[in-house]
Amino acid sequence: MKLSFNKYKNLLSIYLKNSKWLMAGLAVIMTGSIIIQLMNPQIVSWFIDGIGAGKPTKMLIAAAAIFIAAAFGQQLLDIVATYLSQNIGWSTTNQLRLDLVRHCLGLDMTYFKEHQSGEIVERIDGDVTALFNFFSKLLVSFLNNILLMAGIILLLIIKNITVGLTFTVFIILALIVIFKTQGKAVENYKNNREITAKFYGFLGEHIASTEDIRANGAGNYIMNRFYALLQKWLPLRVTANLSGYKIWITLVGVYGIGNVMIFALGGYLWYTNQITIGTVYLMINYMQLIERPLEQLKEQLQDIQKASASIIRIEEMLQMKSKLEVVNQESIKNEAVSLQINKVCFEYEENSPVLKDVSFELPMGKILGILGHTGCGKTTLARLIVRFYDPVSGEIRLNNVSLKSIAQRDLRDIIAYVTQDVQLFHASVRDNITFFNNKIEDEVILKTIYEMGLGDWYENLGEGLNTILKPGGGMSSGEAQLLTLVRVFLKNPKLVILDEASSRLDPVTEKLVDRAFEKLLLGRSCIIIAHRLGTVQKADNIMILEQGRVLEYGVREKLLEDSQSKLSELMKYGIEEVLV
């Protein structure tokens, strides 16, 4: 508990800083509401004693009228309080959501390799929404309840010291019992949330694979896996829910003791003439009044429990650091860049090296073609150059400046990386091209599209740049690839890496794009990764990778002259393919 309270404090101080005035307003409103709540039972108590004392009916009726008016006032205050607390809650949690997304985007790719996107979303939105209750309800109600209980104790002590002290002892004992009941609840909630996240991860993954499942007739198999997951989930959910109910059950016991206390103490004090019957009623009324805080405290505890499970996971997420080292930063101002790769080794998992001792140099403005079988490490090499990962050993330099010393932002501006994986947003064509960068003007985008020779394609879009792309909306993967290419053209990078970039294009479109590429590559350094020979015809240098090692590296023409070279051999093979 202690641990998580500290964490709440950290989060609160960071995220509530901007809502100071709103919180002050909230405090004023809450105080008013509490005063009314404390006053009303006193009116009823006065009313009962008034009847015994034979007060005039007029006064009794006036008391009833005040009672009604006060009740209305309190409700009004509650609505205003909700407005304020909701506002605070949403602005703070939205900020937290953004911060988490930003933080995650800053992590290196290892994180995304290990977590499905559905799972990350469930963590960010699901956990933060659980935290929302913590922000919006806890602040209002928790304080409200504490103050209400304090007020009750104070008023009872003024009325009769014995009653006041007994209530104090009762409340303290009740709270101790309730807090003790919390037990393993945090762990149970965590387990339940974890399997919940797993369940939605499963759903997300399979909803994305319906084509595969459907066409292979694997529906029943997948349903089986679905049931198996449900079977694992049920006992965890029952355990988690029961730990929530435990507090209610405890409260029932506590109320029972409380009532017994009133019956015994109230009876005794009444028989010994120390209190009026109105005060006995006041005891019952106040006991009922603290039932609500105790009961809400139960809900708040559940929220705290849920929230602490969430907080622990959010903290875990925030503490996850990018594995990429940051060193003092230098900037690269040159127009063109050269690339130096020195004895680079890399592995995704220990003891299964993907790249082994790769070294080469790409001079400024030259085009390098990398050839190799699928799985030879071509793509991994590209990922290292754009610094999704850092090499296990060895070094990569741009213009002889180590990648580690180049600011991430600069690096993104310098390098463009085009892959065959294209993901589209449910947003307009414009936003898919610019990634929501609204500083890029439409004319510039259109100019680029026409320069690339994609005019025909563009004119077929229903509403031009405003066309909204929908999942399954009939955009072919080739067309989707075109969007990414437009993106790169807009960016004006200094080093371009094309990783099978045009593999999904048909030969006609590919030719169009190739022409555009020629323009793009002019004066820039470029790496073209391919498993097809045709793709690297424009390359100045050629590297052939095999099982993570450089098999051959050199100037293309020289390699071709050498009949012993692997490239010449491959060319023969390629030509053969054409001749068969």
Binding site: I68, W90, D212, G253, F435, G472
Partner: protein, 603 residues
């Protein structure tokens, strides 16, 4: 065919507007009637029990008021109070256990039916929204309905409480009792007035939430592209805009429900005030005791809780209606009844189905001799794109290649043919017999398919290939060899048992593609459909794959490709342009006569 489809769609749209929530609830309650009944009894008891406590209070004041000396009745009251508390604790524990189980079963049924519905829809248009939104429906909408069902128990318990309380109160004082119930009627009236607004706000809030989670899902799906573009800030800005919208919508929604809650809650204070007004005269005359007053005020708080709960229940049911209409999108024909259909949800391992045995099925099917496609058409809703009027036929064991530029409709043609897109117009004949439900017919062992970008699931390589088939009934090794996967497998740590996906090993694009091909081969289908498998494969591997396929070619193949290696193998080439067949024939002829073919073949 086209007209009947439209009619069906219209019917569905008509039905969408009409959702009988109570009927659907009934269907859910009767899914596990025994469990529901026990649950109901336990919760009715939990709700009725406070009546006893009210009577205890009344008795307590009566004892105090009668004489100012101690009596043993007071000890009796204390004993009864203790017994009451102990019994209630046991009751709540058992109620909680049963209800959690029942709740779980209720949402499991809905989720099961939704999930099955998605799996049974044409694969390429299985969900009508982003997957983030779909997950939202699985989570929040199902939860709303689950609450509704569980709350029916509370409603039943509350009604029982109110009836008994009413009888007790009427026997004390008729006038005051009636006065207490007046605000209740008022409250229900106000709820009715505001509920349509609440419904609208709720829908808006849900939609805004869906947009946020949907966008987050897309952002993390495209994380690589975003990182490379260095546009993290803009993407977050975009998310911020969606966040703000959600904030606004949620605020509206919560404020209105808080106002409603406030009105409900106020009934107790209002009622207490009224009771005091009337009681002033009665108690002075001695027509009403303090015990009676305490009982009235005590019951009133419960009755007011009931009115507030009742209003809440009604509001949640309206919300449940929205939820039903949203989850109905995922099931067969979009019918809400399908979401609550009494399908089995096995909750212990015994209930799981056996792995499938292919050999059983093969005898039953008619061996493929000829497939005819007549005037096949499909048009995407969102755009003008699609295919029109496509007709061709394939003979047994022939190799047909569909070629064309991007956006020419190649993949759409494949998907429409094998039922991954819902049929719109045209017909498909298998050995001369018309196939009405291609989505059910074109699965193994009739047909199998490798998508252009295959998806694998987080599981072992073996399970991804078998995908539900029993290992004994198939030739796994042969399929792996044919798919040119054997070398890769040797490199994997655990061979076939290597886990893949986010928690396991990451496969390269080409490896994924070949696992998918193996998945197809292992099914030994009569018709094999490849959607441009070569895009992730190098020349050597692709050549190997084709040659291994032709070595033992028993199957009819339909292939989308622009690669020469595939085109040269073709018995028939179909050239697509702008969604129509532009030319059809043998390679040599097409190269001579067809400009489009020449352009694709290149120089």
């Amino acid at each position: 065919m086209e007209s009947t489809m439209n009619q069906k769609e219209k019917e569905n749209k008509g039905k969408e507007a009409k959702i009988h929530v109570l009927k659907l609830f009934w269907k859910m309650m009767t899914y596990k009637p025994g469990l529901y009944l026990i649950n109901c009894i336990l919760w009715a008891l939990i709700h009725v029990e406070p009546l006893i406590l009210g009577l205890i209070f009344k008795q307590f004041f009566n004892i105090l008021n009668h004489n100012r000396t101690f009596t043993f009745d007071l000890i009796g009251i204390v004993a009864i109070t203790l017994a009451y508390a102990a019994g209630r604790m046991i009751n709540i524990y058992s109620g909680a256990r049963i209800d959690t189980r029942h709740r779980f079963i209720m949402s499991a049924l809905l989720r099961r039916n939704m999930f099955e519905g998605i799996l049974k829809k044409p694969g390429a248009s299985s969900i009508p929204c982003s997957s983030g939104e779909a997950l939202n429906c699985f989570r929040d909408d199902v939860e709303t309905i689950e609450n509704s069902i569980s709350w029916t128990l509370d409603i039943i318990g509350n009604i029982m409480f109110v009836i008994v309380a009413l009888v007790i109160m009427l026997s004390i004082n008729v006038n005051i009792t009636l006065l207490v119930f007046t605000p209740l009627v008022l409250v229900v009236g106000i709820v009715q007035l505001l509920s349509s607004k609440l419904k609208k706000y709720r829908t808006d809030a849900r939609e805004a939430t869906g947009m946020v989670t949907g966008a987050m899902g897309e952002i993390f799906g495209a994380v690589q592209a975003i990182k490379v573009a260095g546009e993290e800030d803009n993407v977050i800005q975009y998310l911020n805009v969606l966040n703000k919208k959600r904030h606004k919508m949620m605020l509206k929604d919560t404020l209105l429900s808080q106002t409603l809650d406030s009105i409900f809650y106020n009934t107790v204070s209002l009622g207490t005030g009224f009771i005091l007004l009337l009681a002033a005269g009665l108690m002075k005359n001695g027509d009403m005791t303090i015990g009676d007053l305490s009982l009235f005020i005590y019951y009133l708080s419960f009755i007011s809780d009931f009115t507030s709960f009742f209003g809440w229940f009604i509001a949640n049911n309206r919300q449940a209606k929205v939820s039903f209409s949203r989850i109905a999108k995922f099931v067969k024909n979009g019918l809400p009844e399908e979401t609550v259909k009494h399908n089995p949800v096995p909750l212990n391992p015994k209930g799981l189905m056996e792995e499938e045995d292919l050999s059983v099925d093969t005898d039953k099917i008619s061996n493929l001799e000829r497939i005819e496609v007549n005037n096949l058409g499909y048009c995407y809703e969102a755009s003008e794109n699609g295919i029109h009027d496509v007709s061709f036929h394939m003979e047994k064991d022939s190799f047909t290649v569909i070629t064309g530029r991007i956006g020419s409709g190649k993949s759409t043609l494949l998907k429409a043919l094998i039922g991954l897109l819902p049929p719109q117009s045209g017909s498909i004949k298998w050995n001369g017999e018309s196939i009405d439900k291609p989505e059910e017919f074109f699965v193994a062992p009739h047909c199998a398919y490798t998508p252009q970008i295959p998806n694998l699931i987080s599981d072992s390589v073996k399970n991804n290939i078998l995908f539900g088939l029993s290992e004994k009934s198939v030739d796994l090794e042969e399929a792996i060899h044919s798919a040119v996967l054997e070398q890769d497998l040797k490199g994997f740590d655990d061979g076939l048992d290597t886990l893949i996906g986010p928690k396991g090993m990451k496969l390269s694009g080409g490896q994924i593609q070949r696992v998918a091909v193996a998945r197809m081969f292992v099914r030994n289908p009569q018709l094999m459909v490849f959607d441009d498998i070569s895009s992730a494969l190098d020349v050597e591997t692709e050549n190997k794959l084709w040659s291994r396929l032709f070595e033992k070619r028993k199957a009819t193949c339909l292939v989308v490709s622009n690669r020469r290696s595939a085109l040269k193998q073709a018995d028939q080439i179909i050239v697509m342009k702008d969604g129509r067949i532009y030319a059809k024939g043998k390679l040599e002829d097409l190269l001579e006569s067809c400009d489009e073919m020449q352009a694709i073949w290149g120089g």
